[in-house]
């Protein structure tokens, strides 16, 4: 615990030692580590002097928090209304199929993780996929494959498998 707190010392700063900063602290830790581990949540609880269950209760209430690591290229498929109307679900299914993981999962090589998001506000370009910081507009199942290949060429993928 002390070691972890040391690691998070740039986040768990005295001016943030207030119950109202709980969500900010969770966001900052997730930003740094990619997800919220049980240990990290306990460290935050200890820092704010509140029960671990409170921290867990808040973290599980909000959609932003995840409890498993994020892939190197986090894939978010938009499931907003505009995207839904033009086949967002088919894109999500194609993404799950191509990556061979479930929604919320991560590939064994930790390259990609897959999540659905409610709306990224690019409705005019629906359906939209966000990979890393890049927005991919007007996606279709065949384009899913293309996008993934550009990020990680097939040959590399295959050589890793062998």
């Amino acid at each position: 615990m002390e070691e972890l707190k040391q690691k998070l010392s740039d986040i768990l700063k005295p001016d943030k030692k207030n119950r109202r900063h709980l969500i900010y602290l969770l966001q900052a830790v997730q930003q740094k580590s990619g997800y919220l581990s049980k240990e990290a949540m306990l460290a935050i609880a200890d820092f704010l002097d509140i029960p671990g269950s409170t921290v867990y209760g808040i973290a599980t209430f909000y959609n932003q928090f995840r409890f498993t690591p994020l892939g190197k290229h986090p894939v978010k498929v938009c499931m907003g209304t505009a995207c839904h109307l033009v086949g967002g679900k088919l894109v999500l299914e194609a993404m799950a199929r191509e990556l061979d993981i479930e929604v919320g999962g991560i590939t064994p090589d930790h390259e990609f993780s897959l999540d659905r998001v409610a709306c990224v506000g690019c409705c005019a370009l629906a359906p939209v996929v966000v990979i890393g910081d890049s927005v991919y507009p007007k996606m279709t199942p065949p384009k899913v494959e293309e996008a993934l290949v550009i990020i990680k060429p097939v040959s590399q993928e295959q050589s890793e498998k062998q």
């Binding site: 209304t81 506000g121 629906a126």
Partner: protein, 633 residues
């Protein structure tokens, strides 16, 4: 520095760019522009200008609201037309630089039109007829000024309202806001002046103002565009509100899914502070006020005002029963004013131009303009700002350009998950708070999504209930359990397992959930289902009685089929595209789908060359000829 000195300084900064000798290039780099590749266009311009040793400057601006035409580039030259170019790709940048930046050829084949207005007037493109139907107030500077430069805002009249307001009595400001007739733009439409007055009158030294930028409605992005394109107008409005009610601390609660809006807001706050528009002793008035950004953590219900305050306190954002109202006991139990991004953005305009001017726009009960996000199957998607009372028809057909690909309009979804789906017969409905409510929809935050014949209304209702059911905070059992029941029933119907009495059960459940839930989310949750039943009952009946999805959407009720007489035998597109190897060939080379393997992803239909157009969807699936299976061999 006095405000007049700040204005002069801003003016000279602005003039050096807009009235200098060198041409300058505006590139829209809001989120939608970026998604369409605007950043690589910026890079291409910078590279090309450096290569040619050209003197022109590049300015990154926000979004003019024509999202489907992004990336949008405007070249402004002294003593010549400002020309806009749409869907610009890096490859055409050298042509534009050669043609219009350095030369006198405006490259008309690439141009969209000219840029009119500006310098305090709303910008528009006179060549596009949609602008004749718009009335832009909040969007007046969007896509024109650099959101990262406060001087641009000030040079176009910004912050003069704050300077004026700080010399007014708060009671006089409240009177002005009240007589303007403005109602909150977050959706519920509570009179803003009345809210401020109640908060000002509430006892207590410490008061707060909050800006709700938790734009959670899927399909709505007006607040994002306003914040990314012209954030200072929002900050000015919040500051005037704070002065009026007597608050010294303000919060902007913004969803974390809007990273660019957050970045631009942070920069805008910093610049406002540096010029003394925020912080201690604002413009020498003795009034001190500061704003903190709080990033939301993704919960739709956080947009509800009491829930949002809990979120700022670091708690679960679960709405609470009222009274006490937030204006008496809000954030940390203190009197609090909470308004939407757009509501605040109107405030400087009302102060500058007067309540009479504002109330002359709009309808009897809804004053001013409304900003809508046009999305879905419209030709030109993006943002539109119209006077309240404009009809849905005008919004969708005159501004949105109608339905794309020659398809037939079916419904418009307005107001997000709380709103409703209205059919063609309701298109004469004026958009204002009261008319929409009567039609079964709500103004909501302003998302307008057009649907065509390819959209299934039962599936749409299911989509919204799925969303609401996931986002229900769980406090009220009617919402928590009721929406789950409704979703289960809709899932049955779309899977062909529905019973005809289910439709009335949905209506009954919907009415109970609406009546028995505490907050706006629960009360309006059944609207999408109720309105689709009210206006499209025949589609529900087709799903239930004929096991048929008329729009060919619901997976369990459709099958993909390759028309043998249309299939071009030598072509293998569909075979290669099928992710599950469900497509084989007959001896004659005609492609056949193995229905037991097909996952109905639609890839084969997408890749089938348009000249063959051999892949069709059939509903119910029993329409697929049995011979198809036999042919397979």
């Amino acid at each position: 520095m006095t405000f007049a000195e700040i204005q002069n300084q801003a003016k000279s900064d602005w003039d050096s760019l807009y009235h200098g000798q060198a041409p300058h290039i505006l590139i829209g780099t809001a989120t939608c522009g970026r998604a369409a590749g605007a950043l690589s266009v910026v890079e291409a311009f910078n590279k090309e200008l450096a290569k040619r040793n050209a003197e022109a400057k590049v300015a990154e601006v926000g979004c003019i609201g024509l999202c489907s035409l992004e990336p949008l580039v405007t070249i402004i030259k002294p003593d010549s037309f400002a020309v806009c170019y749409n869907n610009v790709i890096p490859q055409v940048v050298p042509t534009l630089v050669e043609g219009y930046v350095l030369g006198d050829d405006p490259c008309l084949d690439l141009a969209l039109g000219t840029l009119g207005g500006g310098e305090g007037e709303a910008v528009y493109i006179p060549e596009l007829s949609r602008f004749e139907h718009e009335h832009r107030l909040l969007l007046r500077n969007c896509g024109y000024i650099d959101p990262g430069n406060i001087n641009h805002y000030i040079a176009n009249g910004g912050y003069s309202s704050l300077a004026m307001a700080l010399k007014m009595e708060p009671a006089a400001i409240i009177e002005e806001i009240k007589s303007s007739g403005i109602r909150g733009r977050g959706g519920a439409g509570f009179p803003t002046g009345r809210k401020w007055e109640l908060c000002r009158q509430a006892p207590g030294e410490t008061k707060y103002v909050i800006c709700n930028a938790d734009e959670g409605d899927p399909g709505a992005f007006m607040d994002r565009v306003v914040l990314e394109s012209d954030p200072q107008q929002v900050i000015e409005g919040i500051t005037i509100a704070a002065y009026t009610v007597g608050a010294h601390d303000g919060f902007i609660y913004i969803r974390a899914e809007y990273p660019l809006a957050i970045e631009r807001l942070k920069l805008a706050l910093e610049q406002a502070k540096n010029l003394g528009m925020l912080g201690d002793n604002i413009l020498g008035s003795g009034f001190s006020f500061d704003i903190e950004i709080v990033e939301g953590a993704g919960a739709f219900v956080s947009g509800e005002s009491t829930a949002l305050m809990y979120a700022i306190e670091g708690r679960r954002s679960m709405p609470r029963a009222r009274p006490p109202h937030s204006v008496k006991s809000g954030l940390w139990g203190k009197p609090t004013v909470l308004n939407n991004v757009k509501t605040y953005a109107y405030v400087p305009l009302i102060i500058a131009r007067g309540a009479d001017w504002f109330s002359s726009l709009g309808t009897e009960g809804s004053k001013g303009t409304a900003v809508f996000a046009l999305a879905g199957k419209m030709v030109s998607t993006g943002l539109a700002e119209v006077a309240m009372g404009t009809t849905l028809h005008e919004l969708i057909f005159d501004i949105g350009g109608g339905i794309r690909s020659g398809k037939k309009f079916k419904a418009v979804q307005i107001g997000g998950p709380s709103g409703g789906c209205l059919p063609e017969s309701m298109l004469r409905t004026p958009v204002d708070f009261d008319s929409l409510h009567k039609a079964g929809a709500v103004m909501g935050s302003g998302g307008v999504i057009a649907m065509d014949e390819d959209n299934c209304m039962v599936d749409t209702a299911k989509f919204f209930l799925d969303f609401i059911q996931k986002e229900s905070c769980g406090k009220c059992s009617t919402c928590r359990i009721g929406t789950k029941h409704m979703l289960d029933i809709l899932e049955d119907i779309t899977a062909g397992k529905g019973k005809i009495e289910d439709v009335d059960l949905l209506v009954e459940l919907g009415e109970d959930i609406g009546g028995g839930s505490m907050c706006g989310l629960g009360r309006t949750a059944p609207n999408p289902a109720l309105t689709t039943i009210r206006y499209f009952r025949d589609e529900y009946e087709a799903h239930i009685l004929e096991k048929r999805c008329p729009a060919l959407v619901c997976k369990e009720l459709i099958a993909y089929y390759i028309l043998p007489d249309k299939c071009e035998r030598g072509c293998e597109h569909c075979v290669l595209a099928c992710p599950v190897e469900a497509i084989g060939s007959t001896e004659k080379g005609i492609k056949v789908i193995d229905q037991t393997k097909c996952t109905k992803c639609g890839s084969c239909q997408l890749v089938c060359p348009p000249e063959y157009n051999a892949v069709v969807k059939l509903s119910p699936p029993s329409l697929v000829p049995a011979a198809g299976a036999k042919d397979k061999g």
